[in-house]
């Protein structure tokens, strides 16, 4: 089982990890203590591997800091579901292998609700009801399936969308 963590619109990277909690300021080893440290302090204490963030539009707006999605990845967030993601946050998540789904399901779930996430289909089982999640384009799905673009490059020796060398 996974737990839903519900957030609003325009969650910015200063809320996800404030600049002064960057690995540069502290250490990479501590990053897992800091997601939403000020915006929602119970998150880092109580989040469990496999949990799911559901949010409003423009999730991850603001800074280029990859440590924002990485902090969520480090604590085991399995997917983020939101109607839209800020562009750098999207790229960073793709590079990290953190799964994003672009759809608005805020009306279908509640905060801290227990659900089952199936990344393969992909979908969410909410109170006995199957909620289909949109499939990203094939090249993104392939990159995500291999753990992100870095891993894809290491596996294939070229970027997704590129002809094989």
């Amino acid at each position: 089982m996974a737990t839903i963590w519900l957030f609003g619109d325009d969650i910015d990277t200063d809320q996800i990890v404030p600049g002064r909690y960057a690995p540069y300021m502290n250490s990479e080893a501590e990053l897992g203590k800091y997601p939403f440290i000020e915006a929602r302090p119970e998150f880092a204490r109580e989040v469990q591997p496999g949990d799911v963030i559901v949010a409003g539009k423009n999730f991850g707006c603001g800074s280029s800091r990859e440590y924002a999605p990485r902090a969520l990845s480090v604590v085991g967030v399995a997917a983020i579901i939101a109607p839209s993601f800020a562009r750098i946050f999207f790229r960073n998540s793709l590079n990290l292998g953190l799964r994003l789904f672009e759809t608005d399901i805020r009306e279908r779930v509640s905060d801290r609700q227990a659900v089952e996430l199936d990344l393969a289909r992909p979908g969410l089982l909410v109170a006995g009801e199957w909620l289909e999640l949109p499939k990203p384009p094939v090249w993104l799905r392939e990159a995500w399936a291999e753990g992100g673009i870095i891993q894809y490059y290491l596996n294939h020796g070229h970027l997704p969308l590129e002809e094989g060398a």
């Binding site: 200063d14 002064r20 540069y24 750098i88 960073n92």
Partner: protein, 414 residues
């Protein structure tokens, strides 16, 4: 003649791939310039070494590295990270290395001519959009994206749609480019240009400083890039390639017509950049600190505009005015022309050229209950320090008028 008219972004990306591409296409491009700063370079190095196993970068001459985000180092942790960055840059033969004191990466990139019209530049910083000030396609990426680009020389992009901002008229006294940016933030919202480019037309007369402000602030609209056509007196000696020019009939997702004669000073209020009002609607908000600096508004013309307002006067009691020139060159020029002396005589204090407290890490962060008016670009909760502090964003003129009064004040009424 091209088959179909192209936006500036489409022209730059088409030139890079060697055939016409259009909004929505996915492309792999050679990246002409990589910019990486102290805040994220340790992570870039880690990814290069431990994930990509890239002992050498693809081309050290395409890379510029800066120590500006915490400069000088504020702690042993940041000092140690900077040691790592310096050693790595040396080991990789990166000659464009700008250590503590040179200034904010984006400003120095343009000062030093490290980005040119028609180029593609990626930076480990969201405000890399600033390079559009010289007609380049500049865009922000995270650390693994940068590691991949440094290792391979290339990366993927989706060709963006473009929003055209058609500007008419001229600024009234006390109004400037930052007010245009804040007005657009209020109009379009934090994701109003998400995944798109913002092109500004009708600004041939605008100086480079103003162009940098406008382009860097497109980041706050979620934009992938912000570009001003490299034409007009400011661009006279930029060596603009002949394939880069506005094309009649290019397709824009939206056109916004903006009349500068009707624009008044704008202020962004806590806790989001798009929470914008004309200054008359903001009220007499008392401030504890005024900060003039950053890649958005720490350039010579900003310091000069503030000095004109502060000349012969003194900042209000209980207000601290922190001025951080965006680069060493700006600091030198402001020293030479008397701007700095005017600011200091008015009660300003000075910080090392760099990002200063903009990211809330050092050199003037604010405490609980404090209010700062900043010429920077973000005011999310906790951005400049305590989550219980409040940040207002405005132009250097508004900052100077506010420092004098002790509360948010309209420079056009002085």
């Amino acid at each position: 003649m091209p088959d179909q008219a192209l936006t500036l972004s489409e022209q730059i990306l088409s030139h890079a791939v060697g055939h016409p591409v259009h909004a929505g296409d996915l492309v792999i491009v050679e990246v002409d310039r990589c910019m990486s700063h102290d805040s994220l370079t340790p992570e870039v190095i880690d990814s290069l070494r431990n994930e990509l196993k890239a002992e050498r970068v693809y081309d050290p001459d395409r890379i510029a590295v800066f120590i500006d985000h915490v400069a000088p180092a504020a702690s042993v942790a940041t000092a140690d990270a900077q040691v790592l960055v310096r050693q790595w840059a040396r080991e990789q033969g990166i000659r464009q290395f700008y250590d503590v004191g040179y200034g904010v990466c984006h400003v120095v990139m343009i000062e030093e001519g490290l980005v040119a019209p028609g180029q593609i530049a990626m930076g480990t910083d969201s405000h890399a959009n600033a390079y559009g000030a010289v007609g380049a396609f500049g865009t922000g990426v995270g650390s693994r994206d940068m590691a991949l680009t440094m290792a391979t020389g290339r990366n993927w992009l989706r060709v963006p749609e473009t929003i055209r901002v058609q500007v008419q008229g001229r600024f009234r006294p006390g109004v400037g480019p930052k007010d245009v940016s804040l007005y657009l933030c209020g109009l379009l919202g934090l994701d109003g240009a998400s995944y798109q480019t913002v092109e500004f037309h009708g600004l041939d007369w605008l100086d480079l400083d103003g162009r940098e402000t406008l382009c860097s602030m497109t980041t706050e609209l979620g934009a992938k890039a912000g570009i001003i056509p490299p034409t007009g007196p400011a661009a006279a000696d930029w060596g603009v390639p002949d394939w880069l020019a506005l094309q009649e009939g290019a397709v824009y997702s939206r056109t916004i017509v903006l009349d500068l004669d009707a624009l008044t000073p704008q202020v962004s209020m806590p806790y989001a950049t798009d929470n914008v009002a004309a200054i008359a609607q903001v009220g007499d908000v008392p401030v504890d600190m005024v900060f003039i600096g950053t890649c958005t508004n720490g350039r010579l013309s900003d310091l000069q505009a503030a000095a004109r307002i502060l000349a012969g006067r003194h900042v209000a009691p209980n207000v601290r005015l922190l001025v951080i020139p965006a680069s060493h060159r700006i600091l030198s020029e402001a020293t030479a022309d008397g701007t700095l002396a005017t600011l200091l005589a008015a009660g300003a204090t000075l910080g090392t050229p760099g990002c200063g407290p903009c990211i809330g890490r050092h050199m003037g962060v604010i405490g609980a209950g404090e209010t700062c008016l900043s010429t920077g670009n973000r005011n999310f909760r906790g951005r400049m320090g305590s989550p219980n502090g409040r940040v207002y964003l405005a132009s250097a003129e508004t900052a100077a008028a506010t420092a004098l009064a002790g509360f948010i004040s309209d420079p056009s009424r002085l």
